[in-house]
Amino acid sequence: MLRFLLRRLIVAVLVAATVLTLAFVLTRLSGDLAISIAGPNATQQDVDAVRKAYGLDRPVVIQFFDWVGRALLGDFGESYFFKARVAALIGERMPVTVSLGLTGLVIALAISLPMGVLAAVRENTWADRAVQAVALLGQAMPSFWLGLILMITLGLHLGWLPISGTGSWEHYVMPGIVLAFSAVPALTRLTRAGMIQALGSDYIRTARAKGLSRASILLKHALRNAAIPVVAIAAVQLGFMLGGSIVIESVFALHGVGFLAWESIGKNDFPVVQAVVLVLAVIYVALTMFADILNAVLDPRLRGA
């Protein structure tokens, strides 16, 4: 188990290093950064001044190692547009994105687990088909569009929830639902498949032979085993959700990290962009590792190995 974790840790560090490099390359793709920063009306002197001020006159290799060195220490430089430390900007916005992600995950699990269990218990009946249809519909739903439709219905016509902004917890409900939609199909299918497998297993036959109640058989014995991969994948899904929060944050004007990245892209504010890419990737890598650990904790067979 320890060796396995160590191996995972090494891979995670390598992945982070690769993304670090890619994030740097990404921002140099656009050609001369100094020109885009200085703006369309800048004179040659302005551009030169910008180049000097941001250290863009140095060789690319030096710039790269400078960025890597600072990034390792958590220093992502200064935002051109916001005139603030990038790390501080991200730190300020991160709680919004994380709250959104967690809200989405909780909603997704609250929908997926019961639906998956229902579909498995009633396998090949209309209930099962209905659940699978919901999963299919969820998979085909464009999230930004669903967001707009919810704004019109729940927000404008029914007036249940605020339409956009970051003021209270209610502001997270609609975006949370939308974000959850992206994870529901995968989590529901996984729950269903896991439950079907568990319900057909010998230990469930034993549980029935012991005369246990239906609730105990389903929830204690079957779901406990079916939920192990679901919980692990849920952690990975949270990573995907955080990565996908850019769309939802801009639809609902939630001022999280995704929204920050979107604004920065529009302003050619590349230190922010590369930092957000890196931070989200590292969070994802950390979450997949966390998922592996969770798997091991939940599955007694992996614990001692």
Binding site: V11, L14, V15, T18, V19, L22, L26, T27, L29, S30, S36, R129, L136, L137, Q139, A140, M141, P142, S143, F144, W145, L148, I149, M151, I152, L156, R189, L190, A193, Q197, G200, S201, D202, G239, L242, G243, G244, I246, V247, S250, G258, A261, W262, I265, G266, N268, F270, V273, V276, V277, L280, A281, V282, Y284, V285, T288
Partner: protein
Amino acid sequence: MSEAVVVSGPLRGWRSIATWVGAVIVGLAVFCALFAGWLVPHDPFQQDLTKRLLTPFWMEGHNPAHLLGTDQLGRDYLSRLIWGARISILIGVTVTIVSAVIGIAMGVIGGYAGGKIDDMVLFAITTRLSIPVVLVALAVVGLMGSSLTLLVLTLGLLLWDRFAVVARSTTMQVRNLDFVAAAWCAGSSRFHILAREILPNIASHLVVVATLEIALAILLEAALSFLGLGVPPPLPSWGLMIAEAKEYMFFSPWVIVIPGVALFVLVLGINLLGDGLRDMFGTRTDP
């Protein structure tokens, strides 16, 4: 009983119906895409500010010349919708071709070679999965300016992971089968074995992945265009249509309902078709 069984074979009952529904939707969209030039009742780019936001046929006061009404610049909505199908399909297919080439090459090589090479392929897949797709695609398009070619290349470079995963695992299964060993004994070159013996045998699985990827690429293109960093205006991408109509959605909800439903139905159709193919071929696409 404890073994998972993948059932393959001809489809029956409601699964067959669902697959046919998917096929019809996809067929219709492809038809629109191919013959958009002949099908459109109006020029989709022709503005007419005297006819702004005309209502569609099911609402009061609609104009019979514009079945689905007009947008905020007076352009015929039905014509833009048909043209939008062309853009969605075009991007879905081209992105998938790019990502298929990358992903299949990596997966087949990794799965066939094994060892260090396979480790590298796995590492590439892991790294790719950690990169937030939408954010990076937005950044590339935002920093380099929006064009169709750039969009396709960017998405293609980002969406190869599932091809690689499936190509890798199926190649590993096929590699050890008799006919591959026979080809190897007969002195066929490695390339020959990969191209002639392995690829045809994993093709059905890859077709299933391709349908999923086309659907995903279409959704992503719409999201990017919605955020203003996808298809450049005035091209009528469905995502862009939703973005442009957003201001009016509270008063005339149909302006976003129409392109959104089109997008939703097309992606649903592709997924239905893909699920049907998956069941027929007995493919597993979950990683």
